[in-house]
Structure formats: C-alpha cells, structure tokens
C-alpha cells in the first residue's frame, strides 16, 4: 500500500525512460525486411535509425561479371515496381557511351512504357498506403486497376513485372499489334476510376486526420538528404529528371512538374495522385503518334564500352535513379554503382517522423513508397 502511495506522489514530476524498439525486420508495414531501431518515450518517436542490408543481394558486384546486355535483367530485380525505368537507365548509359542514336520509335515506346510503369507503381503504392492506414478496400481496388497495365506488359514484353524490355540500341520486341488499342482502352477506363480513388481515400476523414500536418520535411532537409521523386517534390524541391534532364521522348511532350510546398504526408500523397493524371496525359500525347521504323538498331554481338566513366539518371517512380558505369574497355563493366532513390528517401525518415506518434510512423513510411530491394540491392 505504501508503495502505491509513493508512486502517486512522484507522478506530478513524472519521468519515464526512453526505450528502444525494433520495428521489423518482420513487420508487415515495413513492406519487406527493413529494420527500424526506434527510440521511444511512451508513444512518441524520438529517433529512428534504419538498419538495412537484410536482403542485400550484391547486384552491383554481380554486374562486374556480366556483359552489358546481361546487366539489364538484374536491374529488374532491384526496384521491381519501376523495372522498365531501371532497364532504360542502363540502356541509355550504354547508348550514350557508344554514341548510338536510337530510332524515334524506340524513344516513343520507351516513354510510354515508362509512364505505364509509373502508373502501375503508383497504383500499388496507393492501395498499400490505404492498407497501412487500415483501409483494406483500397488494396483490392488498386490491384484491380493495376492488372490492366500488367496485361499490357505481358502481351508486349512477355513478363508482368521483370520486363527486361529495353536492350542496348532499342527494345527487345516490336510492340504487339494490340498495344495501342489496349493502352487507349486502359486510359479511358482509368480516367473513370481515378476519381473513385479520391472519393474512397483522399477525402476520407480518418485519412485526412492521419496525414495532414504529419511528417513535415522542410525544403532544406529534402535537399540535404537527397530526397527525390514525389517525396522530394512534396517539400517543394523541383527535382524531376524528366524536366531538368530530359531523355527519350520527354522533350517532345507537354507535362507539368507538380510541386507542393506543404511538405507533409498529405502533400506527398496528393502529388502521387496528380502524377497519375500527368502520366495519363503524357501517354495520350504519344500513343497515337508512334512513328514507324525499326524497333532496335543493330548492335555488335559483343557490346564493349570505351574506357571511361559514364553516368545516366532517369526519373523512376520513387525518384532519381542513377547508373554509374566505370569501364576499362572490356565486355564487362569494371564497376557499376546504382543510385537508388529509396535509399536516400529512407534516411530522411528520422527528420519526418521524430516527434510524432508511432502509429504515424507507419503512415509517414508509406508516403515514402519504400521498396526494400531498391534500398538493399
């Protein structure tokens, strides 16, 4: 009895110790094997230390023993949701090094594929974002619409996610005769479905309460931590590689780089939804004007890069994806480094989530759209 009294007396100057909690590596909302060492005081997050490397697969090292066309198929496995952008980055890097000019048809097809991949990725992100906040309905609706894009991929490329569609000098196959018809049908279908996304989740009162003014990231921090993609643009960081360093058919199309200066979870969410509208707009401009011609230029049987260092960056669904190849003139690269957007975005998590509740940490992490193989590669 006396012990209870003692506690009550000391509670007016309450002091609790901070404690460490491992979130993951087997936590459903970490979307893979990501371990976050979270320092908590009660329910308040004080500091987050991400620990990566649980599914490190050594892709950069493996690339050193493969020829350039073979490197491409490994980049599918890193950020599997933006597989085609990764493929394209390596192809553009090799083509720039060899100073090969690809036909216009290839540029158009690659850009359409880029935007379809971005749409598929954002659809999956949207359904998982809803699921992390407890809205299971979004999960099924997002996957339902994504299936149409995966069908288009399967018909033209032969695979649904690990496309391996770009090759140095062009694309692997010509587009399927049904391609244009299917893409147009998808656009009309998805234009009707996209407002449903807003009605289901964006306007929802629970969702609004859990994302507005949560997880603020300032412009300075976004630049300092190298946060790119929709996550960086949510803080007002103009970092769209498609605008600033256009490649393929992006110089030919009209589109807007959406920016938001609020920097909270909802800004990052809203930008991805708006990017889906922009992607549809880009595809609409290109799909009817695919020029006739070859789908690939004839490359030598063994692709050898000249000695030197080559860098190419593209805008993947998560941000800026870079390929850095050091060549010593042989058929294998001497060293390959991939700049993956997920890695940089993850380490800004501490800046966003510190001071919030642990339940908000899950919401903030979803707005970053993490893909763990992209971080660990």
């Amino acid at each position: 009895m006396s012990e209870t009294k003692e506690i009550i007396i000391s509670s007016d100057k309450i002091h609790t110790d901070q404690y460490l909690v491992n979130m993951g590596p087997q936590h459903p909302s970490t979307h893979g094997v990501l371990r976050l060492l979270v320092r908590l005081e009660g329910e308040i997050v004080h500091h987050i230390q991400p620990h990566v490397g649980y599914i490190h697969s050594g892709i950069e090292k493996m690339c050193e023993s493969l020829s350039y066309p073979q490197v491409i198929h490994l980049t599918d496995r890193m950020d599997y949701l933006s597989a085609h952008m990764n493929n394209e980055a390596v192809c553009l890097c090799v083509e720039n090094a060899l100073q090969v000019e690809v036909p216009d048809r290839v540029k158009y097809v690659r850009t359409i594929m880029d935007e379809l991949t971005r749409l598929a990725s954002h659809q999956l992100w949207w359904c998982v974002m809803g699921m992390d906040l407890g809205a299971l309905t979004t999960f099924f609706y997002g996957l339902r619409d994504r299936e149409h894009i995966l069908d288009i991929f399967e018909e033209t490329c032969g695979a649904r996610m690990t496309l391996n569609y770009s090759v140095p000098g062009g694309v692997m196959f010509d587009i399927h005769p049904n391609f244009q018809k299917r893409v147009k049908a998808f656009i009309t279908e998805f234009r009707k479905k996209l407002p449903e996304y807003d009605q289901l989740l964006t306007g929802n009162v629970i969702f609004q309460e859990r994302t507005n003014d949560i997880g603020y990231l300032s412009l300075e921090d976004a630049i300092a931590w190298g946060v790119t993609g929709p996550s960086g643009r949510g803080s007002g960081f103009s970092c769209d590689v498609r605008k600033h360093n256009p490649y393929s058919a992006y110089p030919l199309v009209q589109f807007e780089e959406k920016l938001d200066t609020r920097g909270d979870s909802f800004a990052r969410y809203r930008l991805r939804i708006e990017e889906m509208h922009e992607s549809l707009h880009i595809i609409e401009q290109l799909i009817d004007n695919i020029p006739e011609g070859d789908y690939a230029v004839k490359m030598k049987g063994v692709v050898k890069l000249p000695e030197g260092e080559f860098y190419q960056r593209v805008e993947s669904a998560r941000g800026e994806f870079g390929v850095y190849i050091v060549s010593d003139g042989k058929k294998n690269p001497y060293r390959v480094k991939f700049r993956s957007p997920g890695f940089s975005n993850l380490f800004a998590l501490n800046k966003m989530a510190a001071g919030h509740k642990i339940a908000d940490l899950v919401a903030i992490m979803s707005t970053l759209d993490l893909v763990i193989p992209d971080i660990d590669r």
Binding site: H73, Q199, L200, G203, V205
Partner: protein, 160 residues
C-alpha cells in the same frame, strides 16, 4: 456556441466522407459483373496466356522428331546465370565429314530468370519460350530438363 456548431458540422462532414467511400464499395457490391477475378485453377481449360508470355524455354520438335539446334552454344554464352549447359558431340555426315551436333541441351529451370536473352541470340530459332507456368514439383532435381528429345536429330538444311 460557434465552437459547438463547428464541432457538430465537423462530425457530420466526417460521416459524409465515410458515406462517399461506402457509395463506391456499395456500387461494386451490387454490380458483380464489374469483377475481374479469374477462377483459377477451375478455368485451366480456357485460360490462355499471351503469345509472348515467358514461361519456360522449350525446343520444338517436328513430327519426325527433328529440331533446329546445331549445338553452337550461343545460348549458353548469352545466359546470365548459367541456366543452360550444352553438351555437343561429333557426328559423321553422309559425305564422311565430321560435324558438331547437339548431344544434350540441359536447361536448369530453377536457375532461369526468363530474361529471353538465349532466345534472342539463337541463330536458328531452335529454342522458344513456352506458355506453361505451372512449374511446381516435389523434387528440385526435376527442374533440370533435357530439351532435345531422346533419339532426335537436327532437321535437314539447318546451317549455323
């Protein structure tokens, strides 16, 4: 008073947004023809994959048990992860010359990443991608396949 009114209106607005979402789900409950679910495996007979679908590497044979493979080994060179092993042999042609021919075209399905590089590289079009995707087996050794059928030989007129 104003604060109370604001509070109540927030509650009603909140319920309103929930109902907006429920309207969408309700729409799909009562229009089941919008469903896209496929009843796999019940629909196995009607399920048709796309022509370019990359299921597994196969070597088509014609009715005389002949294939187009010359045993040149270009697919083995192009494979990024060693899924293909070519064992070739020397055969005597009718004119009495020695000629390379395929003995065993070994394909490790368990290692294959379905990247299509071997099929793209094949000079005679001897291997293609099959449509079968049901690869589950009880024993790992069953994933190693010999693509050329026993007793098969190269078709007439195929040159490297």
């Amino acid at each position: 008073m104003n604060a109370l009114f604001q509070y109540i209106s927030t509650v009603f607005k909140g319920v309103g947004t929930l109902l907006t979402g429920m309207k969408i789900t309700g729409k799909y409950v009562f229009t089941p023809w919008n469903n896209v679910t496929q009843q796999y495996p019940e629909n196995r007979d009607t399920l048709k994959m796309f022509d370019r679908f990359r299921g597994e590497v196969i070597m088509p044979h014609n009715e005389n048990n002949e294939h187009l493979c010359t045993g040149c080994g270009i697919c083995e060179l192009n494979c990024p992860n060693g899924s293909i092993e070519i064992i070739s042999k020397m055969e005597l042609t009718e004119e009495g010359k020695k000629k390379r021919a395929i003995d065993q075209h070994i394909y490790h399905l368990g290692m294959c990443t379905f990247c299509n590089l071997c099929i793209k590289a094949c000079p005679t079009g001897a291997i293609v991608m099959g449509q079968n995707f049901e690869h589950a087996v009880w024993d790992r050794t069953k994933l190693t396949k010999v693509l050329n059928q026993p007793g098969s030989k190269i078709a007439q007129g195929v040159k490297e």
